[in-house]
C-alpha cells in the first residue's frame, strides 16, 4: 500500500505545471527542427496564409521561392515565368526610358513582389495589390486624357479583361485593330502540323525480354 501511494505521489508531482510547459516547449522545438530537417510535406505548418492558385501545389517546399529569410528575388520568379515575361510591356526596357523612369517612385514596378506577394489575399492572377493599382501612374486616362475612357472605374483595367500588365501582344489596340471583322470561322482552320518521320521500314527485334520477367528496379 505504502509503495503504491508513494508511486502515485511521484506521478502526480511529475505532472506539475512547469514540467508540462517544459515538456511542451521541448516537444514543439524538436518537432519543428525534425520537420525542417526532413524536408517533408508537413512544412505547410510554417505557411503564414493561403497560397495562391498557381503556387499551392508546391507550397510545402519553402526553398522553391525563399532563400533563407531573404526577400524573394525576381530571378527566382523567372526560373518558371520566363515565357510569360518574354514581351514584358512594363519591363526594364520601359523604365530605362527617361520618360517613364520616374514612375518607378510611384510603384516599384520592376520588383515582382511589389504586386505579386504570396500567402495573402489575392485579387486574381496572383496580384495582391488592390485592383486599382494601375492608377498609381495612369489615373489621367480615366480623368479626361482619353475620351474613350472617360468615366471608367479605377479598378476595371485588368479585372474586366481589357488590359494585361505584362503581355500586350494579344490584347493591345493594335492587335484588336488588325483583327477586327474576321468571320467566325477563318478560311483555313488548322493548328501546326506534327510530322513523325520513320527511320526504319520495319520495327527492329526487341532487345530485352528476360529482364522484364525478373522484375528489376
Amino acid at each position: 500500500m505504502a509503495s503504491r501511494s508513494s508511486k502515485l505521489r511521484g506521478i502526480k508531482s511529475l505532472i506539475n505545471i512547469k514540467t508540462i510547459i517544459g515538456g511542451a516547449v521541448v516537444f514543439l522545438l524538436v518537432w519543428l527542427i525534425a520537420t525542417m530537417a526532413m524536408g517533408s510535406e508537413q512544412k505547410t505548418i510554417f505557411l503564414p496564409g493561403v497560397t495562391s492558385q498557381g503556387h499551392f501545389g508546391f507550397e510545402a517546399n519553402c526553398s522553391s521561392c525563399h532563400e533563407g529569410f531573404k526577400k524573394v528575388s525576381n530571378e527566382n520568379c523567372s526560373r518558371c515565368h520566363e515565357a510569360e515575361l518574354t514581351e514584358d510591356k512594363h519591363g526594364e526596357k520601359k523604365f530605362r526610358d527617361i520618360r517613364w523612369a520616374e514612375d518607378l517612385e510611384k510603384l516599384d514596378a520592376l520588383t515582382c513582389t511589389t504586386c505579386h506577394n504570396e500567402h495573402v489575399q489575392m485579387y486574381g492572377r496572383g496580384v495582391h495589390l488592390q485592383p486599382d493599382l494601375c492608377m498609381a501612374c495612369h489615373q489621367g486616362i480615366i480623368e479626361g486624357e482619353m475620351t474613350s475612357h472617360d468615366g471608367f472605374t479605377a479598378d476595371g483595367c485588368w479585372t474586366a479583361g481589357c488590359h494585361n500588365y505584362h503581355d500586350h501582344r494579344s490584347i493591345s489596340t493594335g492587335f484588336l485593330y488588325d483583327n477586327l471583322d474576321q468571320p467566325p470561322m477563318l478560311p483555313v482552320q488548322a493548328v501546326p502540323e506534327i510530322v513523325v518521320e520513320a527511320q526504319l521500314e520495319t520495327p527492329p527485334s526487341p532487345d530485352l525480354k528476360s529482364e522484364f520477367l525478373g522484375g528489376g528496379t
Binding site: E41, N61, A83, G161, M185, A190, P192, P206, G214
Partner: protein
C-alpha cells in the same frame, strides 16, 4: 530525474510524429515482375509504335546508358533524353511543377479542381497520360485527361462540336491538325521558329491566363478574333465547353471600331 524523463518522453513523441508524417505517402514504387503474356502484349504495342520505327528499342528506356543496369520503371528523365522541350515545359505547368521543385509527383487528390475519386492516387508522370509503348497521342489528347478531370468544362467536352470534329477523324496515331482535343487548347502545338516540327507545349497552365493568350495562340488558329474573344471571356460558355456560338459582345471592339472610323475619316 523527472524532468529528464519528461524531456525524453517529448523527444521520443515528437520524433516519432515527424518520422511518421515523413514516411507517409513516400513509399518507393515497387518493381513488378511481369508474365510472358504481359511482355508479349507490350512488345506488340511497341512494334506498332513510332518509337519502334524510330529505332527506340526496349533498352533505350529500360537500361541505364552507362551502367547497363536494367531499369524496370523508367522515369521522366528517360523520356527527357529525347523529348527535352516537352519535358521541360511539362515541369513548368501545374502537372509537373512539384517534380521540378523536388517533391513527390502531383496526384489528383491534391488538386483544387474536381477530380474523379478513383483517380486520386494517380501520379503525374509522362506515362500518366501517355501509353509509352503504343505511343498513341490520340488517347493522350482526351481520354487520359478525362480519367482524372471531373469539372463541368471537362465533362462537357464530349458533347461539344470540337469533340465531333475529333471523333469524325477515326482513331489515328495522333490527332490531325484539324481536330480539337483537350490538348489542342491546353497543351498547344507551337510552330517552331526554325520551321522544323511543331512543339507540343506541355505547360498546361500557360494558355489558361490571361485568357486572351488562349484566344490568340489557340482559338485564332481557326476562329476570327471577335468570335474567339467573345467566347473565351464568357464563363458560362467556357463551362459548357463552347456548346453554342457566343452571344456576348465585348465593348472593346466597339471602342476600336470608333478609333478605326476616326482614322479612316481623317
Amino acid at each position: 530525474m523527472k524532468k529528464v524523463l519528461a524531456i525524453a518522453l517529448s523527444l521520443t513523441l515528437s520524433l516519432t510524429l515527424s518520422m511518421g508524417f515523413c514516411f507517409l505517402g513516400n513509399a518507393p514504387a515497387q518493381a513488378q515482375s511481369m508474365t510472358e503474356a504481359e511482355v508479349s502484349d507490350i512488345t506488340a504495342q511497341w512494334k506498332g509504335s513510332a518509337h519502334a520505327l524510330a529505332d527506340v528499342n526496349c533498352s533505350s528506356c529500360h537500361q541505364d546508358s552507362e551502367t547497363k543496369a536494367f531499369v524496370g520503371k523508367p522515369d521522366n528523365e528517360s523520356c527527357q533524353s529525347c523529348h527535352e522541350a516537352e519535358t521541360d515545359t511539362f515541369l513548368l505547368g501545374k502537372h509537373g511543377i512539384r517534380r521540378l521543385e523536388g517533391q513527390s509527383p502531383l496526384t489528383p487528390a491534391k488538386a483544387r479542381l474536381p477530380m474523379k475519386a478513383e483517380a486520386h492516387g494517380q501520379q503525374m508522370n509522362c506515362n500518366a497520360c501517355h501509353n509509352v509503348h503504343s505511343v498513341d497521342t490520340y488517347q493522350a489528347s482526351v481520354d487520359s485527361c478525362l480519367t482524372c478531370h471531373n469539372d463541368e468544362h471537362s465533362l462537357n467536352y464530349k458533347n461539344s462540336k470540337h469533340s465531333q470534329l475529333f471523333l469524325a477523324e477515326g482513331n489515328l496515331a495522333r490527332p490531325s491538325n484539324a481536330s480539337v482535343t483537350c490538348a489542342t487548347c491546353h497543351l498547344p502545338r507551337e510552330a517552331s521558329e526554325s520551321g522544323s516540327n511543331a512543339l507540343v507545349n506541355h505547360n498546361n497552365t500557360y494558355t489558361l491566363k490571361p485568357r486572351d493568350r488562349m484566344a490568340s495562340d489557340v482559338c485564332m488558329n481557326c476562329h476570327g478574333m471577335e468570335y474567339a474573344f467573345n467566347s473565351i471571356f464568357d464563363n458560362e460558355l467556357v463551362k459548357s465547353n463552347f456548346a453554342q456560338p457566343p452571344e456576348m459582345h465585348l465593348k472593346s471592339f466597339d471602342m476600336v471600331r470608333v478609333l478605326q472610323q476616326k482614322r479612316e475619316g481623317n
